[in-house]
């Protein structure tokens, strides 16, 4: 369970998160929508401790992320994150990209790490690309590799930050399919996305962010069918 309790976060004088409360249960898929600069990415980077917070707390299975005593590297193995930019390690092959963290962070043997990496890469449809360098692949393939790389750590939670936004339109589908597959397998996920159709399909709940506030959160039918927040209404009208 991920518990976000009254989290506040500023960059300098700009308050980006103004008291966010959100609990995501095991097996749940929550998508986050909202305008540019509303704080969606910041929330995700706070959840796995890449950014400090100013007030409130975030608990992952009861462990306080920003407590001094928390081993962040251990926590991050449990909470995977994939970014808009796929960030392949360009000097490593696809297989090596995926094997690196399981070997060095989890301390797995080469054979075991390779077995896991091959399994995850096959899972996202890259079983044929093991010895290719990532820069030789399309953006969609690199993004799926990034997803496999996160999954190879056997995370219990996955955070996705607009993973299709930097992709050519014809490549968006293959990455969304990968996310749908994960959702159907019961992975607990928080997805920031601009793909409304996707959000409607996979989410248990959809959260709408506006200027650092979670203005509305509801099941997709309710949120898209009968939005209450005036800003959400504007947002949905604009994204049609």
């Amino acid at each position: 369970m991920i518990e976000i309790q009254n989290v506040r976060k500023s960059f300098g004088s700009l308050e980006v998160l103004k008291g966010i409360d959100l609990t995501v249960n095991k097996g749940e898929v929550v998508t986050v929508i909202g305008g540019s600069g509303s704080g969606k990415s910041t929330l995700l980077t706070c959840i796995n401790g890449l950014e400090p917070i100013d007030a409130g707390r975030i608990l992952v299975d009861g462990t306080e992320v920003h407590a001094k005593s928390t081993d962040l590297n251990k926590l991050r193995a449990k909470v995977g994150i994939v970014f808009q930019q796929w960030n392949a390690f360009p000097h490593l092959t696809v297989l090596e990209n995926v094997m690196l963290a399981p070997r060095k962070v989890l301390g797995l043997s080469k054979e075991k790490a390779e077995e896991i990496a091959v399994k995850q890469l096959t899972h996202v449809g890259l079983g044929e690309k093991l010895s290719v360098y990532p820069t030789r692949m399309s953006g969609g393939q690199q993004q799926r590799m990034a997803i496999a790389r996160a999954l190879a750590m056997s995370p219990e939670y996955m955070l996705f930050d607009e993973v299709t936004s930097a992709l050519d339109p014809q490549l968006v589908g293959e990455v969304l399919d990968t996310l749908r597959m994960l959702a159907s397998e019961g992975m607990t996920m928080i997805c920031v996305t601009h793909e409304m159709k996707f959000a409607r399909e996979v989410s248990d709940r959809v959260a709408f962010f506006h200027k650092g506030v979670m203005a509305e959160i509801a099941a997709p039918e309710a949120l898209f069918g009968a939005p209450k927040d005036p800003e959400l209404k504007k947002f949905l009208a604009a994204t049609h």
Binding site: L50, R76, A77, N87, L100, A101, V105, P134
Partner: protein, 216 residues
């Protein structure tokens, strides 16, 4: 073909000089690179304020002519009664000189690694050190290699200046022979050829590594 007074033992003398050039270069480039990597990482890690003194000292080493550094270094070691032989003094001064340039190369290499790539490594649970070791070091090395090869070849040629401390390296050895035999053209050609023979493998190694790494 040539009608020359140059004997085999003279050639041996030149080769001894070449060995001295190689030794000074090898020691200085090795030590200078190690120091340069340490300084480069430190400069990247500490905030801008702490980097100022380090940068200042390194700037001094980069801007004062090497000859003056050698002479001052030698004066310093004798005032401080360190009792260093010329070889040690030469290597220490050249190492610091190399380190000053290498620090900039390393710093540039590290900052060429996109922060998002490093964040991706950290987000997988890698520690700062693991990120440095497995992501930053290989990527930065690729970027820095051409400049580092250039630096090494430069230091090799600049090392001729240690003759001012009385070391008989390749250039000094050639001078001695020129004075004695009065055959400057031939001897300087041989001297140049030896410099080339030392440089060529280093330059080729650089080219080879660049090519090998360019596939990814």
């Amino acid at each position: 073909m040539f009608n020359t007074a140059l004997t085999l033992s003279d050639l041996g003398f030149l080769l001894q000089g070449a060995l001295m050039t190689l030794a000074v270069t090898a020691v200085s480039v090795t030590a200078g690179t190690i120091l340069g990597v340490i300084f480069g990482v430190v400069r990247n890690q500490v905030g801008p304020y702490w980097a100022v003194p380090l940068t200042f000292v390194l700037d001094v080493f980069r801007s004062v002519p090497l000859l003056i550094q050698l002479v001052l270094g030698n004066a310093f070691q004798s005032i401080a009664k360190l009792g260093w032989p010329p070889f040690t003094t030469s290597c220490v001064v050249l190492s610091l000189y190399t380190a000053a340039y290498c620090t900039e190369i390393v710093r540039g290499g590290i900052s060429s690694v996109p922060p998002t790539t490093r964040r991706a490594a950290r987000s997988l649970g890698m520690t700062w050190w693991q990120d440095m070791r497995y992501i930053v070091a290989p990527l930065a090395t690729r970027v820095s290699l051409p400049s580092w090869i250039g630096l090494t070849l430069g230091v090799m040629k600049d090392s001729a200046l240690v003759l001012w401390l009385g070391l008989i390296e390749l250039l000094r050895a050639s001078q001695v022979l020129v004075t004695r035999l009065q055959e400057p053209l031939l001897i300087l050609m041989i001297c140049g050829a030896i410099y080339f023979l030392i440089s060529f493998p280093i330059a080729r190694l650089g080219g080879y590594l660049e090519k090998r790494w360019s596939n990814d």
